[in-house]
Structure formats: structure tokens, C-alpha cells
């Protein structure tokens, strides 16, 4: 695997790391630079007498460095891959030295152990105790939701027109009350709804849309005994009920496939919490999946995904209807490539409607537009769809939008992005007719705030 400069920079945990890495690109700073099929390594002369030993396991890519930095990946790791992208000739092919070989071997060993562990039957949890815990949680949620239902009805009795910025505090308190009631998903939705009050033209319609969908969650909680297991799972997700990882890996729906990385983005949630979305599409199954990860304090993410690349893996999907969210159960080192890429869906609108019908609470839907032209119209960015006069309002920072425009030149691109029901946020763009697995011309860069 060989990464482009942009793809490497996209792995940087923050701008400072990217900048520092660019300062380390003189080959003179690297007394040794080597590579093998599955690893790249180098020694970087830092300020101390002993050089730092930097290595990258390309099956990830996963980084390791002997420097004391808490950033992940650190500037040395990034610089190593940048050098690999920019000056191939500086690297010597060879067998990895001991410090690289040992690490790679230990990583493979760990992976095998993990597999072996997974193969063992998990210690059966005490079903009675689990059932009691669940019942307690439902009791708390139900009490909280009843209070919330009365509060919602109160708001509609008084009318949305009476709302203003002075209500923010009361809404914030209700959101906090839902977190206390162990329904953080509701809390988050209330906070997001409160942010709409008084913002922009037509805010009451947007608010009514959110509140209406919240009411459906409220109603579903009351009717939970009559719901199918899949709908119940969707409801639990909407409430923010955490999924037990081990149980999911043991019981969840598994799909092995070559997964094309459609795109990814990172959003700053709180001051130090960063949320990452990685969207995948199975080549054979056509299934789309969302890997959702969190990182604290600018440490970055352990496994990096390269937009536009393909990787064989087994994914384990969360329960529910038309579930998108998944965990990586197993990264396959190498699997025979299946024939032909999954074609773009004929009709993204149909796909979208089916997704909404299956689970009305999914906040984001992935969409691939085979021929779309980014455009500026009025004071808003748009994505013109195929030959139709239709266009999606596009949410994109202007710097990024101009980059996308530069790549398009007024001609169509293949564009992937997230649809939230109102705005389309592009994440990746390919040249028209680019082969599956080929590098995109544009990817969304940086952390959105």
C-alpha cells in the first residue's frame, strides 16, 4: 500500500502534528530508511544523541515510535509516511531489523490470540442479573420520558412562536434530566433541537420536525413491550443505550467482504472529544457500514482508514432494522479479491427512503452520487445532481468547497457524503469513471467544529 501526501496528512491528529512532520522531511535527518512488504521504518535524528525509531505496520496503518510524544500518530510516524510518498528513492528494500520485526511479530501474535479468544465460548453472563439491570434502566427511562412528554406537550400548548433565546436554559435542564434518566440519546437530541430556536429563516419548521420525531421516541418507550426485537434495538440506540461490545461481537450479524472506504470525517464534540465517522461499502454485499469512534485529548485514532482504498474485513453490525453502525470484528490480512466492484446504486433516493422507513431515527444517511457538480448559487453551496435541475444544499466550509470546485471545473464528479435530511455534507470525491479502489481527487480535511 502506498499513500499519497494528502492521505498521510489526513491521518494527523491535529494541524500542529502535520506541520511538525513537514519539518522533518530532509532525508539527511533520517540515517536509515527501509521498507518491506508490510512495514516501513526509519531512524530519525531528534535533538538527543540516540535517534528515534519510527515504524509503521502497513496493514493498518498502525504507527509506533520510540519518541515520548503523546500524539498518535506522532510527527515522526507521519514524516516517515510523507517521505515514503514523496521520495521513494530514499528507502532501501530489505528484511526488517530486529526492532521492527519483533513489533510486527508481536502484533500478528496478538491478533491471533484475539481470534483464538473470540473462538472460545464467552463466559455466559448471568441472564437473571442482566435482566434485572435492564428492567431497572427501563424504569428510570420511563419515569424520565413521562416527565419529558408532559414538558413537550406544555411547549406545544404555549406555541413555538413564544420561544426565544431565554428558553435555552430550561431546554438545557431538560436535556440534563434525560441524561440523569439514563437516556443520553434524548438529551443530545433536545440540545440539538434547542440550538435551532430562532436561528435562520424557517426555524420553527425545523424545530417541529425534530420535536415530532422526539415524540415518536417517547411513544415508542411506552409501547416497548409490543415492539419487535429489531425495532426495540433501534429504540435503544436512539435512547443512547450503550451496546455491550463483547456481546455484540459474539451475537451480531457478521459480514465478510472487501470494504471500500467511501469517506470519513472527524467532528469536535466537546472541547477534548473527537468523533470519527468512517463509511464503508462492501464490494460484494453492497452493504454500507458506519464505524463510529471517539478519541479524547487529541490522541488520534489507533486504526487509520484511507478514503478510496479497499480492505478485506469482517464487520459485525449492530442490531436493528437496516442497521448501518458496525464494529470491525476481524481485519483479514489478505483475501482473494472478488470479481468486479459493487455498482453505484441506481437510485439513491429509493435507498434513502427504505432506510428512513426501516429506522426513522438514524441521524445520518450515506449517499453516493455518480455524477454531481458542486456549484455556488445565491450565497449557498449546492450539489447539482446528474442531468436533473435538482440540487442538494451542501454544507461545507468555504475553503473546502473551493477545493471541490477546483477539482470539478464545472464538470461532474463522483461524490460521497452524509445526508442529514436537510443538508448534504460531502466527504469524498472521485474523478468521473475512476476505477473502484482508486484514490479520490478530494477528501474532506481537518476536524469539523
Amino acid at each position: 500500500m502506498s499513500l499519497s501526501t494528502e492521505a498521510v496528512l489526513a491521518l494527523a491528529p491535529d494541524d500542529a502534528s502535520a506541520k511538525a512532520a513537514k519539518g522533518l522531511l530532509a532525508p539527511a535527518k533520517w540515517p536509515t530508511l527501509g521498507y518491506s512488504d508490510d512495514a516501513v521504518w526509519g531512524e530519525c535524528q531528534g535533538s538527543g544523541s540516540k535517534p528515534y525509531q519510527t515504524q509503521v505496520d502497513l496493514t493498518g496503518p498502525v504507527f509506533r515510535c520510540s519518541c515520548p510524544s503523546r500524539k498518535f500518530p506522532c510527527k515522526h510516524g507521519l514524516a516517515l509516511l510523507l517521505l515514503r510518498a514523496q521520495s521513494d528513492a530514499s528507502f532501501t528494500a530489505g528484511t526488517p531489523p530486529a526492532w521492527v520485526a519483533e513489533w510486527i511479530a508481536s502484533r500478528r501474535e496478538k491478533a491471533e490470540k484475539k481470534e483464538a479468544r473470540a473462538a472460545e465460548p464467552a463466559a455466559a453472563p448471568d441472564p437473571a442479573a442482566a435482566g434485572k439491570r435492564d428492567a431497572q434502566r427501563w424504569k428510570r427511562i420511563e419515569a424520565g420520558v413521562q416527565e419529558f412528554a408532559r414538558w413537550l406537550d406544555d411547549q406545544t400548548q404555549r406555541g413555538l412562536a413564544s420561544l426565544g433565546s431565554e428558553q435555552q436554559q430550561a431546554w438545557g435542564a431538560m436535556a440534563a434530566r434525560m441524561v440523569d434518566a439514563q437516556a443520553p440519546g434524548l438529551g443530545q437530541r433536545i440540545t440539538q433541537a434547542a440550538e435551532l430556536i430562532g436561528v435562520g429563516e424557517g426555524w420553527p419548521a425545523r424545530l417541529l420536525d425534530r420535536l415530532g420525531r422526539l415524540q415518536l421516541i417517547v411513544d415508542a418507550v411506552a409501547r416497548r413491550e409490543s415492539l419487535s426485537p429489531a425495532t426495540l434495538a433501534d429504540l435503544r440506540t436512539a435512547l443512547g443505550w450503550p451496546q455491550d461490545r463483547e456481546a455484540l461481537l459474539a451475537e451480531g450479524e457478521r459480514i465478510g467482504d472487501h470494504w471500500l472506504v467511501l469517506g470519513q470525517c472527524t467532528d469536535e464534540r466537546d472541547a477534548k472529544l473527537v468523533e470519527r465517522h468512517v463509511w464503508l461499502q462492501g464490494r460484494a454485499s453492497g452493504r454500507r457500514a458506519l464505524l463510529l469512534d471517539y478519541s479524547h485529548g487529541g490522541r488520534g485514532f489507533e486504526t487509520a482508514w484511507v478514503s478510496g482504498s479497499e480492505r478485506p474485513a469482517v464487520l459485525c453490525f449492530y442490531p436493528g432494522h437496516a442497521s448501518q453502525r458496525a464494529l470491525v470484528a476481524e481485519l483479514l490480512a489478505d483475501a482473494p479479491a472478488s470479481s468486479g466492484p459493487a455498482p453505484d446504486t441506481a437510485d439513491e433516493w429509493q435507498r434513502m427512503a427504505r432506510q428512513v422507513a426501516a429506522n426513522p431515527w438514524q441521524p445520518l444517511l450515506p449517499m453516493v452520487w455518480a455524477e454531481a457538480v458542486p456549484a455556488r448559487h445565491g450565497d449557498q453551496w449546492w450539489l447539482r445532481l446528474e442531468a436533473a435541475p435538482q440540487a442538494l444544499p451542501m454544507q461545507l466550509a468555504s475553503q473546502e468547497a473551493w477545493q471541490l470546485m477546483a477539482h470539478s471545473g464545472g464538470a461532474p464528479l463522483r461524490v460521497f457524503g452524509e445526508w442529514d435530511g436537510e443538508q448534504f455534507a460531502p466527504l469524498t470525491a472521485w474523478a468521473l469513471g475512476a476505477a473502484a479502489g482508486s484514490a479520490p481527487v478530494w477528501t474532506l480535511a481537518g476536524v469539523r467544529t
Binding site: T5, A26, L208, V218, R384, G409, G421
Partner: protein, 514 residues
């Protein structure tokens, strides 16, 4: 009205004042659902109906239609894109973090190699050009058709959004940006000065003042007596900038009626008494002055007195050669004489402006040999000299031991336009002097030297770069020092990369090379 809108209306007013509206005209399964909601529990009824409709609206979303695009698709470009990843990264880095000289060099190298910027760098390059006017002549030719297309979509980049660079001169003149029109004029001026003058004369009456002044400046190339009539007419222009541009151009024509008139005003004021020259200032304003763009009224905040103000305006409009021929004195002798004159301030200021308007190398030399005045002014004078004559002054400032290296780098930085460098030989001297200071450890306490080092890395001739590469590093560097050293290394490395673009050509196209 759609059901959603009736629901919204009720939601705005509040269900306390307006009942939840019935779903009228809704048939089928969905209509049944809404009716069931209507008949069900009262609490939350409005939101329950709104939720159902909201989900339906979401699933059946129809994207709004836009009027068809009136923007053309970008034209294909025959120039290949800069493809080398290391060079791409170096150009991206230069555009993102400068300095301007490095940006200029990278862009000029791309153009000289017959390449164009990759698409992802176009917005950054256009932004860099928006911030720095000096960079624009380097940005525009590196944009390619795609970049010109992009610039036309954004008002901030209008400076570059002229006609296509591949278009013929007439199209660029008719549709181009101010920069492009000026370039068309300057180009035509070289081959056919009369045609260029007629082109401008036909256009002048329709132009705003700023463009009149800028385009008039293009007549400086190949100026001749035939241009006099057009320039003379501009002396009566409404805008001071245009009059000033015309005056400066006419000074290049010593035989012109305007220069003759100014000389006739000045000559009676200069007389020989007892073997030495005496200068007087005008006693009163002359009504004929206004035809020659001389203001009788002294500006409110002018430091010169009224008579000195008049004298100064006459002095700055007379070609410097008039003084040497008229008095038989050398520039050095005249400067010495002026220093003792009562009208010293008016004379020196007039001469300074005259030398900037029409560079005269002998006068520059003489001015630079005077005891040093303001640093900024010295830099301006040095910029007027051809390189060999500049470097004589720099060498004396630098000194045998290289003590003046900081000042000389600053002067050279000011004197060399982006794309120009000091000679290879002199650059080697400066780089050696700098390296000596770095190796001596001066960087630890000398904050100015840190800046100078970065400037030198971007400025000096490529042949001297190796002396600034691999500067010694230590483990105890402060963050500021480490930054200065890594910035220098970054610039040196980028320039060495840029020079590889020009390798196949025997003579580089950048002006500063010998």
C-alpha cells in the same frame, strides 16, 4: 395548504388556542394513521402527527430545483500538471507558510517548466495572490485554464479572472484584468510602440483614474518624442495620480515642451555669483504653472515653506542631467553644494523623487556615497542600480570581516524584486558570513540574526544555498531557535527542489540568474 403547514401553524400559535387540525384529503394507509392519531391520546397529539408527517417528508424528500448553471465548463489545458509529489508538497508548503519570495520562486519554476499548478493548490495560490499584489504576476501564469475558470467564480480572486492566458492579445485587452491589460500594453510597446500608444489613447477617456494611471505607466517602455502629445494632454487630468504619472514619463523626454518650460522656470532662479552657484526660490506663484501640473497652493500639513514647496516641485520635474550640464558640476559636487544651500530640503527631496522617476545610475552612486541617511531610502536607491553597481556598495557595507551581513541582507532583500537574487559570487560571500556567525553560536542570543537567516535562505543565489543547508543543530535549542533553524532548512530544501524543475534548460528563465 399542505398538512405539514397546517400543523406548523397550530404549533406556532399553540394547541391551547387552536385545536390540532384534522388530516383532510389524506387517503390510504397514511391517512388512516393520521386519523388514528387524531382519535387517540390527547397529550402529545400535535407532535405525534407532526412526527409521522416529518418522517414521511424525510423519506419522500424531493431536492429543490436550481436554475440551470450559466457557468461554462473549464477548458481543457494543454500544459501538464505539476505531478511530482515532493514538488507538489514543497509548493503547497510554500503557499501555506511563505515567505513570499519562496512562493514566487516555486510558481515561476512551474511556469518556466511549462507546467501548471495541481487543482488542489489552486485556491491556496489564488488566496496568496489576493493577499500579495507582488505575487500576482507569478500566480496568474501558473493557474492554467482550470485556475482561471475558478478565479472567475469568486469575487475575491477577480484579479486573476481575466480572459484566458491562451487567448490572443486582443481578447486579453478587451476582457482581461488590469494586470493582464497592462501586460498586453507592455508587450506591444516592445514591438510596436505607436500601436500600443494608440490603443491606450483610444481607451483612456473611458477608464477610472486608478486604471488610467496604471496603464499610462506602461508607456515607459520604448518611450519616444512621438509619445509627447498624449502625455502632455494628461498633465491636465482631473486625478493627481494621472498627472504625476505623466510628469514622470515626460522627464524621460528632455526635449519635450513640458521639460523645456520647467527648465525655463528654473533657470532664472539659478545664477553664478563670485564663482559659485546661488539658488533662489520663486518669489510668487506663476499662473502658467498649472499647465505643468504644479500646485501653487501648499498642502496643509506640508513641512516645506511656501516658496520651498514651489521650488521642490520645479526641481522634481527637471531631468537630473539638466543640473550637471547647466552647472558643469558632477552629481557628487552638486550634492555637496546643496547640503550648504538655504533650500537644501527642497533640493534634496526634489532630486530624490527625480531619481526614482527616472533612475540615473551616477546620481544613485553619488547619493549612496554620501554619509548615510535613512536606511529605507538607501534600500530604495540600491534597488535602482544595476546589480554590479549595487554590489559595490553592499560589499563596502559588508566589510572584510562580514560584520555588516545583517544590514546587507536587509538591503538586498529590499532591492531584489521577487524572482531576482544577488549575484552568485556575492551570495556566496553573504552565505559564508552568515554560516560563520551561526557556527560561532550567535543565533542563541541574536534574535535579528534568526530572521535574517530565513530571509537570506529565500533570497540568495541558488549556488550559495549549500552553505545554508545542514546548519549545525544542538540538543539545547530553545523553541524559537529551533523554529528559525527548521524554517531555514525548509526554505533551502524547497528551493533546491524547485531548481530541479529547471534542470533540463541550459538557461533559467528567472530574471535574477546570471
Amino acid at each position: 395548504m399542505s398538512h405539514w403547514n397546517t400543523l406548523l401553524q397550530t404549533a406556532l400559535v399553540g394547541t391551547a388556542r387552536q385545536p390540532v387540525p384534522a388530516a383532510e384529503g389524506m387517503a390510504g394507509e397514511f391517512g388512516g394513521l393520521l386519523q388514528a392519531i387524531q382519535a387517540g391520546e390527547a397529550q402529545g397529539q400535535l407532535l405525534r402527527a407532526a412526527g409521522a408527517v416529518a418522517i414521511g417528508r424525510r423519506a419522500g424528500f424531493v431536492a429543490p430545483g436550481l436554475p440551470p448553471s450559466d457557468a461554462p465548463v473549464a477548458t481543457a489545458d494543454e500544459h501538464p500538471v505539476l505531478n511530482d509529489p515532493a514538488l507538489q508538497a514543497a509548493v503547497a508548503d510554500a503557499l501555506a507558510s511563505g515567505p513570499l519570495r519562496l512562493q514566487h520562486e516555486g510558481l515561476a519554476a512551474i511556469t518556466a517548466a511549462g507546467l501548471r499548478l495541481p487543482h488542489n493548490l489552486l485556491p491556496t495560490a489564488l488566496d496568496a495572490g489576493r493577499r500579495a499584489i507582488d505575487l500576482r504576476p507569478a500566480v496568474i501564469p501558473a493557474l492554467g485554464e482550470r485556475g482561471l475558470w475558478l478565479a472567475a467564480r469568486n469575487d475575491d480572486w477577480r484579479y486573476a479572472a481575466g480572459a484566458s492566458e491562451q487567448a490572443d492579445a486582443q481578447t486579453r485587452w478587451d476582457e482581461g484584468s488590469l494586470e493582464q491589460r497592462r501586460a498586453v500594453l507592455a508587450e506591444q510597446r516592445r514591438n510596436d510602440p505607436a500601436a500600443a500608444r494608440e490603443r491606450l489613447a483610444a481607451e483612456l477617456p473611458q477608464l477610472p483614474a486608478k486604471e488610467r494611471a496604471a496603464l499610462l505607466g506602461a508607456l515607459a517602455g520604448n518611450i519616444g518624442p512621438d509619445d509627447e502629445a498624449l502625455l502632455d494632454a494628461q498633465l491636465k487630468d482631473r486625478a493627481r495620480d494621472v498627472r504625476q504619472a505623466a510628469v514622470e514619463l515626460l522627464q524621460r523626454l528632455p526635449a519635450s515642451a513640458h521639460v523645456q518650460r520647467i527648465e525655463a522656470f528654473l533657470a532664472p532662479l539659478l545664477s553664478q555669483e563670485g564663482g559659485s552657484w546661488q539658488l533662489k526660490a520663486p518669489e510668487a506663484a506663476d499662473p502658467r504653472w498649472k499647465d505643468d501640473a504644479i500646485d501653487a497652493a501648499r498642502p496643509t500639513h506640508e513641512s516645506l515653506g511656501e516658496r520651498a514647496w514651489w521650488l521642490y516641485q520645479l526641481v522634481r520635474q527637471v531631468p537630473l542631467a539638466w543640473w550637471t550640464t547647466h552647472t558643469g558640476m558632477t552629481p557628487a559636487a552638486l550634492l555637496e553644494w546643496a547640503a550648504k544651500s538655504d533650500w537644501k530640503d527642497a533640493l534634496l527631496r526634489g532630486w530624490n523623487e527625480a531619481v526614482l522617476a527616472v533612475p540615473d545610475v551616477d546620481w544613485c552612486d553619488a547619493m549612496l556615497d554620501r554619509p548615510r541617511s535613512q536606511r529605507a531610502w538607501i534600500g530604495q536607491l540600491l534597488a535602482l542600480l544595476p546589480r554590479e553597481r549595487r554590489e559595490r556598495h553592499w560589499a563596502s557595507e559588508l566589510g572584510e570581516s562580514g560584520n555588516g551581513v545583517q544590514e546587507v541582507v536587509a538591503y538586498a532583500d529590499q532591492a531584489c524584486a521577487p524572482g531576482e537574487t544577488p549575484s552568485a559570487e556575492f551570495s556566496l560571500k553573504l552565505a559564508a558570513a552568515l554560516r560563520l556567525r551561526v557556527e560561532r553560536g550567535d543565533l542563541v542570543n541574536d534574535y535579528v540574526l534568526r530572521q535574517v537567516l530565513g530571509h537570506a535562505a529565500a533570497l540568495l543565489h541558488a549556488d550559495a544555498l549549500h552553505l545554508l543547508a545542514d546548519l549545525p543543530r544542538t540538543a539545547e535549542e530553545s523553541p524559537g531557535l529551533a523554529n528559525a533553524l527548521s524554517d531555514t532548512a525548509r526554505i533551502v530544501r524547497a528551493r533546491q527542489l524547485f531548481s530541479t524543475l529547471l534542470l533540463p534548460l541550459p538557461i533559467s528563465s528567472s530574471q535574477g540568474r546570471p
